[in-house]
Structure formats: structure tokens, C-alpha cells
């Protein structure tokens, strides 16, 4: 079944990208090292690179890609619109605000090994989404349009505040700017445990309401008549998807495109039924980000490209080729 194939591909790519990077490490050595053999033929530097730099980076790429892709499915279901991405109700602007405040205030505290530069964006992201949700629900039973407009308005304002803070603190602006571009380069094991706890939580929450998402697609009235509680459903969906998005931006900054395009690709491959779509989309997202990051750290080595550029350039042609080859146009 195609989901198993996708998962197998993901594992193969994850392992093989261990051998790829600015510093060449032979694949045979990697395999030996993974099997914990005594004489893997790798130098100390290479082993440090593998364990401390590359392996956490690949884990995080996997979790971040998977999280953004699943969150994308969630928001596309909530708004019944395939153009929604995980940042549409303010998650990215909230994360930017959180990161900016942390940098500007010079906060150095850490929580269980997690730096403020991880917690700040996560909290900021959740806080802004909460504000948007509350404001959006003040309208007529939280209609989707109200939520969307509230998201746009509050995001714009938050982004303006971020720009203002950057202007007033020009010395620190560079750090903020580079964080905003999104990068997996700073990945280490402390961040891995955040993503590996928060991401599966959000994922299970979303997967649990998969059938409700199917019903919700049919419309408010239809889903209500099937016993769906709209208020509860929306809340669960937003909580799950926002948890995924917050853990992703906390780990890697704002990486665009993956959350928008992975659900589309997954839909073309496996159909729109959410209990399959959600895991498939996560696999696709993880693959895109692992491949994208491997290319980003290799192609202009020793410099690194921002990973968002690579994922856009990688995902877009692939998606277009799928779109053009599929027989039914309106499969979304």
C-alpha cells in the first residue's frame, strides 16, 4: 500500500542523508557506525558530526516536515480550502514575535535544556493563535471567514510590531532576521525531545478526529446532523494543528511551503479520506524536508542555503508534474 512505500522511502532517505553534507562521510562508514561496530573507520570529527550535528538535524527535519504537513491538512480541512497553510491564523507571526521579544530582552533562561529561542517562539505562536481564536469566535458561531479575517488582521499587526522592534534594536536585528528565514542548522538533541513529544501529541489529536474532518468537509449542517459538535471539533482541530505548528517553528524557525504543498501531493496519491491523508501528508512533508535540508547543506558547501528556498524549488515541480498527470482535474 502506498503509505507503506512512502514510509519506507522516508526511512531510506533519512539514513542515506546521514552520509550527505558539507563534509563527505562514506556510506559504508555510516552503516558501520549505526550498527555500533568498533572499527567503523570514521575519525572522531566525523563521528562528532554524525551524532551531534547530522543525526539530530535529520530527526528534526523529519518531525518538522511531518508536523507542518499534518497541520496543513488540519487547516485545509477547517477552512475547506486547499490554499490554507499552517500559518494562516497567526502561528508564524506569533512565533516571530516570541523570538523577537526573547532576543531583544536578552532572555537567557532555559527550561530543561531548551533555550529561550525555542520556547519563546512556541509560546508566542500559541498565544497569537489563541487570541485569533477568541476574537474569531466572537462572531457568528466562529464562522470560518471571521476566523480567517481575524487571523490576517492580527498577523499583520504582529508582524508590524516585530518590524518595529527590529528597527529599534538594529544590533540584534540580524539575529532575528536569520531566525525568521527558517533553518535546521542549529538542531541539537535538546530540541529533538521537544519535537518528539509535542509533535506526536498534536498528530494523534488530529488523527483522532480524522473521521470528523471527513464529515466536516460536507458542510456545517450535514456534519451537525451526523452528531458532530462544531464547537468542540473546531477547538480540537485548532489545538492539535497549532501544537504541531508551534513545535515546528520553535525547532526550526519559519519554513514555508511544506505545510501547503504536502497535503496536495498526498491527496493526489492517496485520496481525501483523512485517516489516510494525515499520515501520508506527514510522510510527504518529512521527505520533502529531509531531502531539502540535505541539498541545502550540500549544494553550495561549505555555505548553506536557507532550507525554505530548496523545499520550494523541490516541491513545486514535483507537485506540478503530479497535477498535470492526474486524470481528474478537480481532485482536491
Amino acid at each position: 500500500m502506498i503509505l507503506l512505500v512512502a514510509f519506507g522511502l522516508l526511512l531510506a532517505l533519512a539514513v542515506s542523508s546521514l552520509a550527505v553534507g558539507a563534509v563527505p562521510i562514506p556510506m559504508a562508514g555510516v552503516v558501520d557506525w549505526m550498527l555500533n561496530k568498533e572499527d567503523s573507520g570514521l575519525s572522531v570529527a566525523q563521528r562528532t558530526i554524525l551524532w551531534d550535528l547530522r543525526l539530530p538535524r535529520i530527526f528534526i527535519a523529519c518531525f518538522v516536515g511531518g508536523s507542518l504537513a499534518a497541520a496543513g491538512v488540519g487547516f485545509q480541512g477547517l477552512f475547506r480550502n486547499v490554499l490554507a497553510d499552517p500559518y494562516v491564523i497567526g502561528a508564524s507571526s506569533g512565533a516571530a514575535l516570541g523570538a523577537t521579544l526573547v532576543v531583544v530582552a536578552g532572555v537567557k533562561l532555559s527550561l530543561g535544556g531548551l533555550g529561550a529561542t525555542v520556547i519563546g517562539p512556541m509560546l508566542g505562536s500559541i498565544a497569537v493563535v489563541l487570541v485569533v481564536f477568541v476574537v474569531g469566535s466572537l462572531g457568528r458561531h466562529g464562522s470560518a471567514l471571521t476566523l480567517l479575517l481575524a487571523g490576517i488582521a492580527i498577523s499583520s499587526m504582529t508582524n508590524a510590531i516585530v518590524s518595529l522592534l527590529m528597527f529599534l534594536n538594529d544590533q540584534k536585528a540580524i539575529v532575528i532576521l536569520s531566525w525568521l528565514m527558517g533553518s535546521l542548522a542549529g538542531s541539537d538533541w535538546s530540541v529533538v525531545w521537544v519535537t518528539s513529544v509535542a509533535a506526536p501529541l498534536g498528530f494523534i489529536l488530529l488523527w483522532g478526529i480524522a473521521r470528523q474532518m471527513d464529515a466536516f468537509l460536507l458542510g456545517d449542517a450535514a456534519s451537525q446532523s451526523l452528531g458532530l459538535s462544531l464547537m468542540q471539533f473546531r477547538m480540537l482541530l485548532i489545538v492539535g494543528a497549532s501544537l504541531l505548528t508551534a513545535s515546528a517553528v520553535g525547532s526550526a524557525g519559519i519554513i514555508g511551503f511544506v505545510g501547503l504543498i504536502s497535503p496536495q501531493i498526498a491527496r493526489l496519491l492517496i485520496g481525501a479520506k483523512h485517516c489516510w491523508l494525515i499520515p501520508m501528508s506527514s510522510c510527504v512533508g518529512a521527505i520533502i524536508l529531509i531531502v531539502g535540508d540535505a541539498i541545502a547543506r550540500t549544494v553550495v558547501a561549505p555555505a548553506e542555503l536557507p532550507v525554505g528556498i530548496v523545499t520550494a524549488m523541490l516541491g513545486c515541480p514535483f507537485f506540478l508534474s503530479l497535477l498535470l498527470s492526474s486524470k481528474t482535474a478537480g481532485r482536491m
Partner: protein, 335 residues
């Protein structure tokens, strides 16, 4: 068992997916298996370690205490000005990694690169692979690197002088860690003496003859250097009146209107590696035609690498400025 009820995706889409997946995996395997050019430096290894094994502690620009139990002999420099400073202290052979922009002196070009100057452009893997025992990074934009290398146990020190005195201080600091204290003092003495000579020459210029100057960091958006930057410092020390002496930021955007109103008599602009600065372009800017510097043709291009790096060659840039701005006192600049 009943199969899943779902719409069947077209077989050509699935074939496309498998094909591309296979190609991607194949290219990865090939990439991993290929021999790529060695990233090891061609410069021979450093001097023997110092006999003195007592611990040295220093506090860097970010108030971080960094300890050294042995003299560093494999240094990675992530800033062009630091690279020049290391060479000026005689430590050129200890440098094992540099950024793309570290281009002076010419011997620096043979050192292995670890990235471009910006944070995203630097590869942590490349640095680790060089097995450094000291990494010198920038204090304002390399914080995430600091976190990584602290966790890996590689000493990393944040530098970034913002004026000449700080540059001397950092020269002494590097001297103390690397056992080059004597060379550092000599460098500082030489530069201080030269600076005093310049100040003496400049003091002969009367107050009313001092020229108003505008330093253009960038043209679009129009940016200049304020008095708190090292460029602002050398402008003032060289006897010029910076028309934007009321700024508090080091480098900031400014308004063309204000510039036209303040009417500088001289404009300095640095060469850049990307675009060529064209003298004619100044005259075409709206309102600039009446500016004294444009009318009199007193727009001078300064060597960008010298003036933009707070390093050993900063005084070369300053000398250039004095010669261009006050040619009548140029004779006194020679020792």
C-alpha cells in the same frame, strides 16, 4: 478483508512518484559515495604547543568566560577583520578555517573555507571537521553558533571591535591566549604611533577649514555611519565633520532631504564586491545636484575592504581619507 474505499489515484501519477523516489535515492547514494575534493587545509600544521600549561581565562564581548588549558594552534576565524588581525600577529599558519570574505593577506586564500560571512552561510560540519581548538566568531550575529560549539566543547570566543581602542584590546586578548603577547604589543604600539602622527597632522588644520563629510555605506536605501561606529570614529579623528553626527545608531538609513540640507563638501563611498560605485550616479539623484561635494566633484571611492573592517588596515583607510580630503597636509603623513 474489505479494501479501503477510496478514489484511485491515476496509475501514471503513482508511476511518476515511484520513479522520482528512485531517482532521488539513487542520487543520494551516488553523492555519498563520490569522492569530493578534500576540505583539509593545504597550509601545514601549526607551531608546537606552548610549554606553559597554566589555564588562561578570558571574558569575551558577550561577557562569557572562556577557559584555555593549552595554547590554541588550530584557529577558525569567522570574520575578515579577525583574520587580518591574526595574520598581523604572526598567527597566519595557525588558522585552519576562514570565511569566503577573508581575502587578505593573499596567503589567507589558501586556507580552507567554512562558509560565507552570514550565520546561515556557515557550515558547522565544516568547522568540526577541521578539529579546531579555538573559534573566533562575531558577537552580534553568531549566537546560535556559540550555543552549538559550547555544547560540543569547542572553545568559541565572540569578538567584534566597534572602535580602535577595542581593536587594540582584542589584539592583546588574542595575543594572550595564543602566547603572542609580544607581537600584540608591537602591533598596538605601531598602530598607536601611526595614529598619533595622523592626529598631529590633522591638528594643524584650522577649525574653519574642516570639511563637512558624508560617508555612504550604501546607496539604496541610503545608509550612513553614525559617530558611534568605527567608521564614524576615523572620520572624526581624520578631522572631518560627519554631517550625520547626531545619529545614535551605528549604521542606519537616512533621508536624502536631510543630506541635501546639510550640504556635505566631501562624499566618501567604499568599493564593494557586488556593484560598482559610479561617480556619475550621484549627480543624477534628485536634489543632489546642488550639494557642494557633487558640484565640486569631491566624491571619493575608498578601498572597501580596508574601511569596512575594524582591523589592522583601518589606518590605511584613514590615511587615504586624509590625503583625499586635505591634500595640502599629506606630506606630513609619511613617517
Amino acid at each position: 478483508m474489505r479494501g479501503i474505499r477510496r478514489t484511485r489515484p491515476s496509475t501514471s501519477a503513482m508511476n511518476g512518484f515511484y520513479a522520482i523516489g528512485f531517482l532521488v535515492v539513487l542520487s543520494f547514494v551516488l553523492l555519498a559515495a563520490c569522492e569530493r575534493g578534500a576540505l583539509e587545509s593545504k597550509v601545514p600544521a601549526a607551531k608546537p604547543p606552548a610549554a606553559d600549561n597554566s589555564e588562561i581565562r578570558l571574558v569575551d564581548r558577550l561577557d562569557r568566560e572562556v577557559r584555555f588549558t593549552k595554547t590554541p594552534t588550530r584557529i577558525v576565524s569567522l570574520s575578515p577583520s579577525t583574520t587580518e588581525l591574526l595574520f598581523a600577529l604572526g598567527l597566519g599558519s595557525s588558522i585552519v578555517g576562514r570565511t569566503e570574505h577573508c581575502n587578505y593577506p593573499p596567503e589567507a586564500l589558501e586556507i580552507a573555507k567554512v562558509g560565507s560571512g552570514t550565520l546561515e552561510g556557515i557550515s558547522r560540519e565544516a568547522i568540526v571537521n577541521l578539529r579546531p581548538d579555538l573559534v573566533l566568531c562575531k558577537w552580534d550575529s553568531h549566537q546560535p553558533l556559540i550555543e552549538t560549539f559550547e555544547k560540543l566543547g569547542i572553545p568559541i570566543v565572540a569578538f567584534g571591535p566597534e572602535n580602535i581602542q577595542e581593536m587594540f584590546q582584542e589584539a592583546r586578548l588574542i595575543g594572550s591566549i595564543t602566547g603572542q603577547q609580544a607581537e600584540a604589543e608591537q602591533l598596538v604600539d605601531r598602530m598607536s604611533a601611526r595614529l598619533e602622527r595622523f592626529k598631529a597632522v590633522v591638528s594643524t588644520i584650522d577649525a574653519q577649514d574642516r570639511k563637512r563629510v558624508f560617508y555612504q555605506v550604501w546607496d539604496a536605501p541610503l545608509m550612513t555611519a553614525g559617530p558611534t561606529s568605527f567608521i564614524g570614529e576615523i572620520l572624526t579623528t581624520a578631522g572631518f565633520n560627519n554631517v550625520f553626527s547626531d545619529l545614535t545608531n551605528r549604521y542606519t538609513r537616512v533621508n536624502s532631504e536631510v543630506l541635501v540640507e546639510r550640504d556635505p563638501q566631501i562624499i566618501f563611498a567604499p568599493t564593494t564586491h557586488s556593484t560598482e560605485v559610479k561617480l556619475e550616479s550621484f549627480a543624477t539623484r534628485p536634489g543632489w545636484g546642488n550639494v557642494a561635494a557633487v558640484r565640486d566633484g569631491k566624491i571619493f571611492i575608498i578601498n572597501g575592504d580596508q574601511v569596512s573592517r575594524c582591523g589592522p588596515r583601518l589606518l590605511d583607510a584613514m590615511e587615504q581619507m586624509i590625503r583625499l580630503g586635505y591634500p595640502h597636509v599629506a606630506a606630513g603623513l609619511e613617517p
